[in-house]
């Protein structure tokens, strides 16, 4: 570890936190119904869209109506993307003559992008036409981020409702997040990216003669526009197979830092928005401190582990210094570590370093972050997971202060616990069961390139990434088989929608409860001590579940490397 690296990591986090506060305030004003200064710009556009689509913007929905619209839109977009991938060979904007995708890969890819996972069982530059990149990938990168975001907003409204079932209008929220947040931000960021050297073109791959006289094909395309929403929407699916390690996606340390900031912006801002919705900024502060703390600890564990290098390599080959396998020289260990921590904490899944080549501890942290799934988390759904853990923490500690537990004045009863438990249960279920199935079937084991302990890590990582809707991969697993395309596809769907539906059902029941006024007997959740309890619940309930599986994967590898 170097001083410069440490300062770089800390400075980036500070910038993220400073930007998240105004961003969070802006999001609150847009979605709480306040008028904003930009209304005169956006209103005409939005009203036009409402008229065009026949939306009555003033009508309100209860949780069932809201989620029905949300699921319906998602289903239609899923089918749309699937058809594009299946038919891309015969559709326009295909200068490189790329073939249509087989059914299983098209299913996996469409599911992957509608669920904001962006797991890629294909190499973008070889398997997707520009039409697919734009209408399939980039389009879903906007809408899937929007879906997660509006789900969180609707939940927040339910949380502050006093005996009212109305939680907003899905269509209005869904349009507003595009017109007022995602489109303007992505446009600006894409232009900045172009300025920093990312390509943005519809021309096919360039064929160049190299100095040695050979012919080289250099893939390119509408990269900058995809890259912007890939990060802003915590998507992570790259244009190229190498993702942000590719020089056209992430040419310099500066773009890498920008990408980290872009992926962190909205998940961190939502904490401020949350604090404003519940009119308790202290609550937001407590969450900021604890979540940032975990992010920093994790990042520095990766950094120190990577910087310490590999003793076996030192012993066998006499190579000392940091572990540079799978890392880009232009980023170095510090920036690679931060990117790895951030992309799994914010469940983006973009990578600028190969996670498969990380040291065991360096690879353990991204896996842990995805198993927690609450270190800020993905756009919107991260906040929903935070709320789920808050509810369980409040339940346990509420009992310990001798009252029926309340969260922000609302009683937590059997129905809420039932739904929170379902949301809690689904994550280990869809990680561990598919991992076990994969490890005992031939279809599951034959695509593993590194057998042994590391093979377990690879499969475990894949299903964790799919379940957390992250999308980053330990390479070393050939995922493009019918088995993995289907298994990962189903895991992504369950990981995304079961918890959203469970949390929405909870929102429906919370919305209609009356808010009990606070007294000294009320358990306050905006204290340092409660923050500690929250963290303990996340660690003990959330992560210890995976301790046995991790101990035969990265933990065993770690001991093997250092003392074995």
């Amino acid at each position: 570890m170097t001083l410069a690296g440490t300062i770089g990591i800390l400075a980036t986090i500070v910038i993220i936190l400073l930007l998240s506060i105004p961003m969070g305030k802006y999001l609150y004003h847009v979605f709480s119904g306040d008028s904003t200064r930009m209304d005169h710009v956006f209103h005409p556009v939005e009203n036009g869209l409402y008229r065009l689509m026949g939306i009555n913007a003033s009508s309100q929905m209860d949780w069932k109506a809201y989620i029905k619209s949300m699921l319906l839109v998602n289903l239609v977009m899923l089918l749309f993307a699937y058809l594009i991938f299946r038919l891309q060979g015969s559709l326009p904007l295909n200068p490189d003559g790329i073939k249509s995708m087989p059914w299983d890969l098209a299913f996996n890819t469409a599911v992957s992008f509608i669920t904001n996972t962006n797991w890629q069982n294909y190499a973008g530059e070889q398997s997707l036409s520009y039409l697919s990149q734009m209408l399939g990938i980039t389009f879903l990168q906007f809408t899937s981020a929007a879906t997660g975001f509006v789900a969180a907003i609707a939940f927040l409204r339910a949380l502050v409702n006093n005996k009212s079932r109305w939680i907003g209008n899905f269509w209005v929220d869904f349009i507003k997040i595009h017109t007022r947040v995602l489109l303007p931000l992505a446009t600006i960021l894409a232009i900045v990216f172009v300025g920093l050297g990312l390509p943005e073109t519809l021309a096919g791959a360039a064929k160049v003669h190299t100095l040695s006289g050979l012919l080289q094909t250099i893939s390119r395309g509408p990269v900058a526009s995809l890259e912007a929403i890939k990060q802003l929407g915590t998507n992570g699916g790259g244009f190229f197979n190498a993702n942000s390690a590719h020089p056209f996606e992430d040419p310099s340390a500066l773009t890498s830092v920008l990408e980290i900031i872009a992926m962190a912006l909205i998940p961190t801002a939502l904490i401020t928005t949350f604090g404003m919705f519940i009119k308790n900024r202290r609550q937001a502060l407590i969450l900021y401190v604890f979540l940032t703390g975990v992010l920093l600890v994790g990042t520095f564990v990766i950094y120190s582990s990577e910087a310490s290098g590999n003793p076996m390599v030192s012993h066998a080959l006499g190579i000392y210094g940091p572990n540079m396998e799978g890392k880009e020289m232009r980023f170095g260990p510090a920036l690679s570590s931060l990117f790895t921590g951030a992309t799994t904490a914010f469940t983006t899944g973009a990578v600028n370093t190969m996670h498969d080549s990380l040291t065991p501890l360096g690879g353990l942290i991204p896996m842990l972050f995805m198993m927690f799934n609450v270190i800020f988390g993905g756009k919107g759904v991260g906040l929903l997971n935070i709320l789920m853990y808050l509810i369980i923490a409040v339940f346990l500690s509420g009992l310990m202060v001798g009252r029926t537990p309340e969260i922000f004045g609302k009683k937590i009863e059997a129905r809420e616990i039932k739904l929170a438990t379902l949301a809690l249960l689904v994550h280990p279920f869809i990680i561990l069961v598919p991992t076990a199935i994969a490890l005992i079937t031939k279809a599951g084991t034959s695509p593993i390139l590194n057998p042994g302990l590391h093979g377990i890590s690879e499969v475990l990582y894949a299903f964790t990434s799919a379940a957390a809707n992250n999308g980053s991969a330990f390479a070393g697993l050939n995922g493009n088989t019918i088995f993995y395309n289907l298994m990962l596809g189903v895991v992504m769907l369950i990981g995304r929608y079961v918890s959203i539906i469970a949390m929405f059902a909870m929102a429906g029941s919370l919305a209609q409860k009356s808010i009990i006024p606070e007294s000294v007997g009320t358990l306050r959740t905006d204290t340092w001590s409660f923050g500690g309890v929250f963290l303990a619940v996340v660690v003990i309930v959330g992560a210890l579940t995976f301790f046995p599986a991790l101990s035969v994967g990265p933990i065993a590898e770690y001991f093997h490397m250092w003392i074995g």
Binding site: V401, G402, T421, A436, I516, G564
Partner: protein, 684 residues
């Protein structure tokens, strides 16, 4: 009953509980407790593995069955411990119910026939509306309302209180309970319940736990525990494939041991015992809660509505000060006041004598045996004493005394009115005192706040509970008492409707309201309140409307009930936290042991330095079983509750049960490992 209930565990109860903990192993009963049901299934599987170690395939050494047998025995003990906890809690109730049943049997009644004569029938034949006659020293056969007569009743069978109470026709003291004994006079009673519905029957049902339903919080917690059990089931089931991939295998008994260690068996085993014991604690406070839900609701109460008279104040006005008027000194006034009250047997009169004694004035009745006692009458509104020598002592309402003095040509001092007003303004009652025609001054009678009330209200405030005092007094008087007692708010000149309105207003704000009451006109409010504590001395309507009945008729018991409600939740929360926190140490014991052959590097995780794999797994499992009986006393008694802010309470309990829950098993497992190694079990 209450007296017998205070004896805790007797030999009979323990013997009964041991038997019950075996019969409760019936899977049809066990399935109601999913956590322990999983343990039972584990027990059955390891039992099979003891005799057929290779029933699930795999290669096993010749001594594998010994390990499996030990696991089987420990699992069996775990289940038995859990059942034992529940049976012990139930056993105490059963013993009380037995005592009550004895009271009930063999009761006979004199039932009125249409011709006005009485026939002897068994009490169990009495129906609602039957008229019965009860003579002195007979048992009252049925719950009812007194139609005629007035008599003293020994209710100790129900309340444990030996002092008899007065029951009579009309008013708020007309309700009698079957199974109590009439000590004097004769009562004509109309039965108000049908057979099987009497108060005694309900009590038997309650203490036996027959009508026990899971309370809302208990239900929510059970769901969470079942969810955690599911999660750990997934964790354990998926382990074998992982080991299999790296060419290892984990035997089924070890997997079951890990599962049982991880699922929250501690709280699973104690959960229902905590609930039953909580209800039992309420009963031992001589409060009958009609449901566990009411006790839980008591813990959540935000607002407590209390009547002033009899609850906050003693109920009688007592002398607190002597205020002389005109040229008179206090000493003179005290002397006259004491003389005027010498034969006064009312509490007010006694209090004047007592206060006089404190100020050094003592008079003996014997010295004035020839004096004539003048009783208070509504007509004169004065009382006092006429001495043989013609001296008259009088005390009474100020205007009545003024008239008395005027009629005798005495002088009214100018400061009298001013001082009278001051006392009235402060909420007191002024009594003027006169000797012959000379007015000496005033006695300040005051509503006395019961000792300790202020501290109790402070405690309530620390719990976050607001107290509201209800009184028929004028606002001025009410404000004085409110200030003195330290309540947060009061309603003066309150009518029963006002109480109802207050409850509804508070509930509209989302608050939970508790109140106590005894009169029929309290019934609607008792029914509306979330926690309605009816006094046993109260009317049948009030007792029906409330969700708790206080057998001692002490309205301040609401405060105890609130504490018990909170304690119930805290105990559940604390043991759940302890149970979950235990998992950390158990992981460190079992994981390295389990993968010892597959991934030998993991021995680095054996931070407790346990002897070997077998001893590690057994130690964790034995710890897991032993912690249950170890915590039974805590479950029965409840975690101590001290009023303090929620955050400090949380920190305190997190420290004890959270950190304690992480550290205890590290120590416990290590100790058990040392013992079983020493016994040679580790190397079988």
């Amino acid at each position: 009953m209450a007296i017998s209930a205070k004896k805790s565990m007797t030999g009979d109860i323990v013997r009964g509980a041991i038997l019950a903990s075996l019969t409760k192993m019936d899977p049809r009963i066990m399935i109601k407790n999913p956590v322990m049901f999983v343990v039972e299934i584990g027990f059955v599987i390891t039992l099979v593995l003891t005799f057929f170690p290779d029933v699930f395939g795999g290669k096993y050494g010749p001594n594998e069955w010994i390990f499996n047998l030990i696991v089987t025995v420990v699992l069996f003990i775990t289940v038995v411990f859990g059942n034992f906890a529940e049976a012990i809690a139930e056993g105490r109730g059963k013993a009380q119910a037995e005592a009550l049943r004895k009271t009930k049997t063999d009761l006979t009644a004199q039932r009125s026939k249409t011709d006005g004569t009485y026939e002897i029938v068994a009490a169990s034949m009495l129906k609602k509306g039957d008229i019965v006659r009860v003579e002195a020293l007979q048992m009252i056969p049925v719950d009812g309302e007194v139609l005629q007569g007035l008599g003293s009743v020994d209710e100790s069978a129900i309340t444990g209180e030996s002092a008899p109470v007065i029951r009579g026709a009309g008013g708020d003291f007309s309700s009698v309970t079957g199974g109590t004994k009439l000590l004097s006079d004769e009562l004509i009673i109309k039965a108000t319940v049908d057979p099987g519905e009497s108060f005694l029957d309900k009590m038997i049902g309650l203490v036996e736990g027959a009508s026990r339903q899971k309370t809302p919080n208990e239900l929510a917690l059970s769901v969470l525990l079942a969810g955690l059990t599911m999660i750990f089931l997934i964790v354990v089931i998926t382990l074998e494939p992982l080991a299999h991939y790296v060419n290892g295998s984990i035997d089924v008994a070890t997997l079951i041991a890990l599962l049982v260690c991880l699922i929250p068996t501690t709280i699973g085993a104690l959960l229902s015992a905590i609930g039953i014991a909580g209800m039992d604690r309420v009963i031992r406070f001589n409060v009958i809660a009609k449901s566990g839900k009411a006790v839980e609701a008591a813990g959540d109460v935000n607002t407590l509505i209390l009547d002033k008279t009899g609850t906050i104040t003693i109920g009688n006005r007592l002398a607190s000060e002597f205020v002389p008027v005109g040229k008179h000194q206090r000493e003179e006034l005290v002397e006259v006041a004491v003389m005027s009250s010498l034969f006064d047997e009312t509490p007010e009169g006694r209090s004047i004598i007592t206060l006089g004694k404190e100020l050094g004035v003592t008079k003996e009745r014997e010295s004035y045996h020839d004096a004539e006692n003048i009783e208070f009458s509504a007509d004169t509104r004065m009382s006092g004493m006429d001495l043989a020598d013609g001296t008259v002592y009088r005390k009474g309402a100020v205007d009545a005394i003024k008239k008395f003095v005027n009629s005798r040509g005495g002088q009214i001092y100018p400061d009298l009115d001013e001082k009278t007003d001051r006392i009235a303004r402060e909420g007191g009652t002024p009594l003027a005192v006169v000797k012959s025609s000379e007015l000496f001054g005033l006695i300040y009678l005051k509503d006395i706040v019961k000792p300790g009330m202020r501290e109790r209200f402070d405690e309530l405030r620390k719990m976050g509970i607001k107290t509201v005092m209800c009184t028929g007094d004028n606002p001025l008087t009410a404000a004085t008492i409110a200030l003195e007692a330290g309540v947060d708010n009061f309603i003066a000149e309150a009518k029963p409707e006002d109480k109802m309105r207050l409850i509804k207003e508070e509930q509209a704000l989302g608050k939970l309201v508790a109140m106590s009451g005894d009169g029929t006109n309290d019934a609607p409010a008792l029914a509306q309140a979330d926690v309605g504590l009816a006094m046993n001395t109260g009317t049948a309507a009030a007792k029906e409307a409330g969700n708790m009945v206080d057998l001692d008729s002490d309205p301040t018991k609401l405060i105890e009930v609130v504490s018990i409600g909170k304690q119930l939740l805290i105990t559940r929360g604390a043991i759940t936290t302890f149970s979950i926190a235990n998992d950390v140490a158990k992981y460190f014991a079992i994981i390295p042991a389990m993968f010892a052959s597959v991934v030998p590097e993991l021995r680095a995780l054996n931070i407790m330095f346990l002897t070997n794999s077998k001893s590690a797994i057994l130690s964790a499992l034995i710890f897991n079983a032993l912690i249950i009986p170890f915590l039974i006393p805590l479950a029965m008694r409840g975690v101590k509750y001290r009023p303090m802010s929620a955050t400090s309470l949380l920190m305190r309990n997190i420290f004890i049960y959270g950190f304690g829950g992480v550290i205890t098993p590290f120590v416990g497992i290590k100790v058990i490992d040392i013992i079983i190694t020493w016994l040679g079990v580790a190397h079988l």
